[in-house]
Symmetry: C2
Subunit: 195 residues, 2 copies
């Protein structure tokens, strides 16, 4: 009768845990780390605030769980950087924008961008991700001088575009089509990487 559960939850129960986690991603993304309260997360998930602690422990623990996106730069970067070199810039922009079309990705992405810049909790997280996980992997696959600087410049343009489009929502970038942005921003990325 009850729909079959995949491997995961041991006994019986409900889906409160996943609802709490989804609500946490949303609220952290809207108000940043300091600005969100356990009570609001609980309210949006339709549960009691105590249940949040019961499942996730402290607020910092919950944030770590919510921020733990299985981003796999070790698999994504090689995938994008291989293929015709002339279109790498366009492929990067398109990949990021299409990923953000998915609700789940966009919510987590906005949360990360907001909290990354907001204060001492998220900043080390994203700085570490950029400078240890992502940028070296990109730079390592570039056979050009100043590879690290080039990768960093790419990150700066991608980050700025995501900020304007998804976090701040400033028009007309916020309402532009993916093709349009690929056409405008793609050549920038291409130039940073290879010119």
């Amino acid at each position: 009768m009850s729909k079959p559960r995949g491997r995961g939850r041991p006994k019986g129960g409900s889906d409160s845990r996943s609802r709490i986690l989804a609500a946490a991603v949303d609220v952290f993304g809207e108000h940043g780390y300091e600005g969100t309260t356990i009570r609001e997360i609980a309210g949006r998930a339709g549960v009691d605030s105590a249940l949040v602690h019961h499942y996730f422990g402290t607020k910092a623990d919950l944030f770590a769980e919510a921020a733990n996106v299985p981003l796999r730069p070790d698999v994504v970067v090689p995938m994008i950087l291989s293929g015709p070199r002339e279109e790498v810039g366009a492929r990067i922009v398109r990949y990021v924008l299409e990923a953000f079309e998915d609700d789940r990705v966009r919510r987590r992405g906005v949360m990360l961008l907001r909290t990354a810049v907001g204060g001492k909790v998220g900043t080390p997280l994203i700085v570490g991700f950029l400078s240890r996980e992502l940028l070296p992997r990109v730079a390592g696959r570039l056979d050009v001088p100043d590879a690290e600087l080039r990768a960093d410049l790419v990150a700066s343009q991608i980050a700025g575009m995501l900020m304007i489009r998804y976090v701040l929502g400033v028009q007309p970038i916020a309402g532009a089509s993916i093709d349009d942005l690929v056409g405008r921003v793609g050549p920038t990325i291409q130039r940073y990487l290879f010119d």
Copy 2:
């Protein structure tokens, strides 16, 4: 004996008010709006927390005062956009980076970037500034199609560069020279504006 005061403070007194304001800019910039406490601002200014309220009222009032940078896009934008068209991109990048060399500007800038993205207090402020004050002024002086989108693209790259360099401090952009960044990013701006 006491050094002469310019026009400004009426009677006698101290410089507590300006020290509080400077401390507020710093602390808001470090922890975002929600993350900063009146007590920390007071402590860093070397005064009591009650004095902060005495001068500035509520925390939101103090933030508004601290964020009230006399940015004058109405005078800066025409100044930069006039002059040889071929170097506009480089001039924009150089102007921004050189402005951020000044401690005062950089602190206020970092504060605005942090709080702008952090939550509901700063976001409307910067969105309004961008979409009402800055971008239309830039777009209005461009005699090219899609002027608004071009101005927005410029903003996205400038914002991303400032984020990486000053807010997150990710290397190597954080340690790059102004000339280096002008040479790399200037052509991007130029392309967004005129190509």
